[in-house]
Subunit: 363 residues, 4 copies
């Protein structure tokens, strides 16, 4: 039993779609330059009409990419990765009239009651009930642990508290994390917790500000640089706990993307933003569930590149879940306003979220 709805493809025998012309393509005039009228993708399933009623589904779309037609294959390509001469789909409509159909309702439940002219609480806020959201999430994670690809996107706050840090390590050890996307700070403060029991100099349990604690993250970075990599530093310094160590132990890939806010950075950090995007995108393509916590920068970046569906190897289409956990409506709304409308927000402190999750899944 899967915990998600079946996919209902479009009915291409519908008169308007049956009448659709074949899609048009134009060659990219240069590498990284798009032809006029290029079609930009959403994260919904996107189909193009090859003619004769043959529609092709992109195997996993994303926001603000383009479609490149390679013979019978439809690739979703970031504009900067388009090569001169690539055959780029053109057309800015979505209803088939130019041979492009964006299918927004593939996973919809049959329509509910609704219809009041007036309702309270039409917008999700911190006062929305999340009891079911949690239970659904547990079901999804239990399923995807064995049959999916769970991607975590973590801000440093997860490592600032003893129990949430331990919970995340537990989830990794329990098989609930297939890739970890984060920044320099998450890794640094996770090691700081291992070596000093602090986060930016504050004890991760007692909240005490430790004397000299503002040196801890700098000492951590210097130590790792001295050893040459996170892997060697963790081995040689005898680090036995934490998030990064759990990833290494369980061979979970970690992508650390650099930013202008970084101290150091650690040697494992990818400092070029385009290379970092490519490394992150490799996991976003495969994701079946994404959980983004306590980081606006990384959450929006990954939100931009994650499809709302995935075509599995056996051809079935399933939804990709994207959870954003944040303290403020602004964070969640920002994701929605940048187009990641499928994001499900859980408004709470990430520490509690982590601890609850692990308490419920570890059983």
């Amino acid at each position: 039993m899967t915990p998600f709805p079946a996919y209902v493809p479009p009915d291409f025998t519908r008169p308007d779609l049956a009448a659709a012309p074949p899609v048009r393509v134009a060659e990219a005039p240069g590498s990284g330059v798009l032809p006029a009228g290029f079609h930009a993708t959403s994260n919904y399933p996107e189909y193009v009409h090859l003619g004769g009623g043959r529609w092709l589904l992109a195997s996993g779309s994303r926001m603000d990419a383009v479609l490149v037609l390679d013979g019978d294959m439809l690739r979703v390509v970031e504009p900067r990765l388009v090569r001169r001469g690539d055959r780029v789909v053109v057309g800015r409509t979505e209803n088939g009239e130019e041979g492009i159909y964006v299918h927004t309702t593939g996973f919809d439940a049959p329509a509910g009651a609704g219809g009041d002219k007036f309702t309270f609480r039409s917008r999700g806020t911190r006062e929305s009930p999340f009891s079911r959201s949690y239970e659904e999430l547990y079901d999804i994670l239990r399923h995807d642990r064995d049959h999916g690809h769970i991607v975590w996107v973590l801000g440093p706050a997860v490592a600032f508290d003893r129990d949430s840090r331990a919970a995340m390590a537990g989830l990794i050890g329990g098989g609930y994390c297939h890739a970890l996307l984060a920044g320099n700070a998450l890794a640094t403060h996770d090691l700081e917790a291992a070596l000093f029991h602090t986060g930016l100099g504050q004890d991760i349990y007692t909240q005490a500000l430790v004397a000299g604690g503002h040196y801890h993250h700098l000492d951590v970075i210097n130590e790792v640089l001295r050893h040459g990599s996170l892997e060697r530093a963790i081995a040689e310094l005898g680090i036995r706990d934490g998030i990064i160590r759990a990833c290494l132990e369980h061979r979970v890939p970690v992508v650390l993307a650099g930013s202008i806010r970084d101290d150091g950075p650690l040697p494992d950090v990818i400092t070029d933003s385009r290379q970092a995007q490519d490394a992150m995108r490799a996991h976003a393509r495969r994701a079946t569930t994404v959980i983004a916590l306590a980081t606006q920068l990384h959450a929006i970046a990954v939100g931009n590149m994650t499809p709302s569906y995935r075509v599995l190897d056996d051809g079935t289409v399933r939804p990709v879940y994207f959870y954003i956990v944040d303290m403020s409506e602004f964070g969640a709304d920002k994701l929605a306003n940048r187009g990641s409308g499928q994001a499900r927000a859980i408004l709470t402190n990430v520490q509690d979220f982590m601890v609850n999750l692990w308490n419920n899944l570890k059983g």
Copy 2:
């Protein structure tokens, strides 16, 4: 074993205190009118010098009240409750020089290391680690369940989610609530959940907006008005779950204070703000722990009237804990900025807070 520090009274043999003059009093010129130079209390322990080295401790202070000397008894009285002729303590210093001593360090641990010119994270935020805060809170609640007076101050959001509402009812049944202070909305939506499984028309589990749901709270209020009281309505409508019902079952007093935002209100609501303050203050005086969730109005009101200490029947002095649980630093800071400096903030969603608390205490 108590989970809190011992109280260290001031050393009145210290030269500056030994030299303190007796305190001065002046008669109130009218009822509700204070004499010039009146002393306003804080929520710290306040002592007045009667002369000859005899210092009197108010048995539980509060913000912005005055001290009335009644023979040898020192009463903490809200200005509007002062009667003409009451002997009001005057003097605006706090160091003994006018016979008034405010003792801010009675529960302090011996001084820590500290002393860096520079630290990170000097301010509490959502990124502060709360692992120990939770554990301390569990210890305090386990102790105060049997040996204290736990006062809850609740906003309606607690009733908007199935699991947090059940957790609160569980805590009441488990003996962890000796008084409940709230408003019209908490009671209304708690009954709405019992009768309709919604909060303001939204299902408390599925988040679905129910057709006609914006009538639910009005129907609830009308039903209770028809029955004449919450108690009768709950009995006669056969309500079997929820927060208010748990209070009735376990004879936990409920104070519902009215506000201009109320529909109805329910017949049990105290609509005069001064009478409501008096009813709330009766519990604030006895409180050993206060937990205020998801309500700025009530949290600040109760914060204003709650001492930071209490003199127990056997004469020992213990701290009064005040927890504020809120999603935003602004809420917690506002309490601090209004003078309730002893408030401990836990920044999270109140639903998670409630569920965690009950999971840990019910065991």
Copy 3:
């Protein structure tokens, strides 16, 4: 020229409305108790069918009230003000099928383009552009200054800054305020500013925390109580500036509603929440524009009781504008989630809002 759109009434010759039955009424079984199936109003124009194609428009609706039919007059009455035997409209549909029609589109512009399956920025946030919102507001205020009824709802923060306090006083003097709704704190801190140049002890210009400043608001309250009223205190203490003084000078009515958070309160404060609601509602009924700043409690209370339209003496129907100015999306969304959907949010600091407004209107 009016700065607002013309009202387009419903087309009652439309087949579904032409076929509508006459509305049903039922007698209230007790005072303050509603008959089963009562119809609750929204703040949109609401019509009831008397039969024979005669539809009656309530002259100004509000959230969560009921309709009482008094001969040919349709009164919008708060449930608690309903008298036993009042003929209350029953029916919970809004499309005419029970003789009740809620008209949500009376002021709509002809439909725009729209129709994309996907858009960014569908939700209003702090990043929304407000240039035109300001210009529209200036036009509305210039119009309503002479031809409307502008109601201000103020939180204390307006008085905490020298320039915003002066701007509000300027707007009152300039005729841009026909009623002021606020609480005890606004009046107290406005007088504190006049007497001590502070707000809760902080200098309203330099931000300095003044020694002994935490006594200021208590001294203010005590002084006013000693004089017996705000009016007498302002006259006898020689207060020459500020918001309350401007209201007295220009005979602008002030309603101060009490709350459980109040110190004092001042003698002019209405401490019973139902009486306060009645006094506020008298102004909400007449309002053509409401501006609510920096107060969730009062903003939501007034939002609940304000119509989205008003029938003028000459029978024309015009929109009632409701502006909410707040720093957080949560505040504005909360208003929307409580049903005041017509509220227009301007997300900014109220100080800047006030200063900008006055700079633009005083010219």
Copy 4:
């Protein structure tokens, strides 16, 4: 007349400082690797003792860098830019006992009254009065326009509103901006406003969501890539307004730092975070005033690298002002919690801030 306080250097004849040993240095064991016990700088003035009472002041410090002694020159160097063999200052005390003195009070006013055990409003919030903050800022900007180096750090929201965008362009034209630090989004949406009058598809004046508007920023990026640079695109597309164009016209350097959130990016964006930091640091070193608006990422990055003082060519030492303008206390507190304690927060909407600033300075 300068609008800032005179600098009072430390009194090195004070016994504890007179007794200070010479500072110790250690050679960096590798490039980018620090010797054990390295001293990390704050953004306060930092002095090292060369012996014999000769103290050397770093000409402009920053957070989390190190001090390299080059003969008689004291360089402040980011750890990753340290070369093998560099003579790095070691020692983790700040009071002179290891020959290092951090001077935190150089610009302090003589101590004020203070001393109450209890005050309200000890923390800055949205309710703090900002009247004087604005006036001081105007004075500083008028001074630094001709005698300083004003650095702006801008998030994209500044370009999302017609009036704030025009105000920023006005400030640049008026000489109030000597360098602009921003990201890909600011430049993209500024050009989007020029070409389409939208920001992410929303009209920057009317708030209307324009049909097809979600293509605008992609079209902008594609156009600029086609032209090869912002400069050529602006010239060849005939763009006549906006922030970037004003910078080009007035030869104000623009540093655009890349991030993983970027679409495109524009060809002018520096995608390597270390190169971007270097380019930003060149301006932070010279800054006399920094104003950071509506961007946490860039604000904290620049906050980390900006000194709190600067030694001018004539040897005088002046404060460097750092303003952070944001809607939430969290943003401002985060900067403080990351060590940029000198940051002055103005809590408001950046649109209003910009418009007010320009209205007051353009006069």
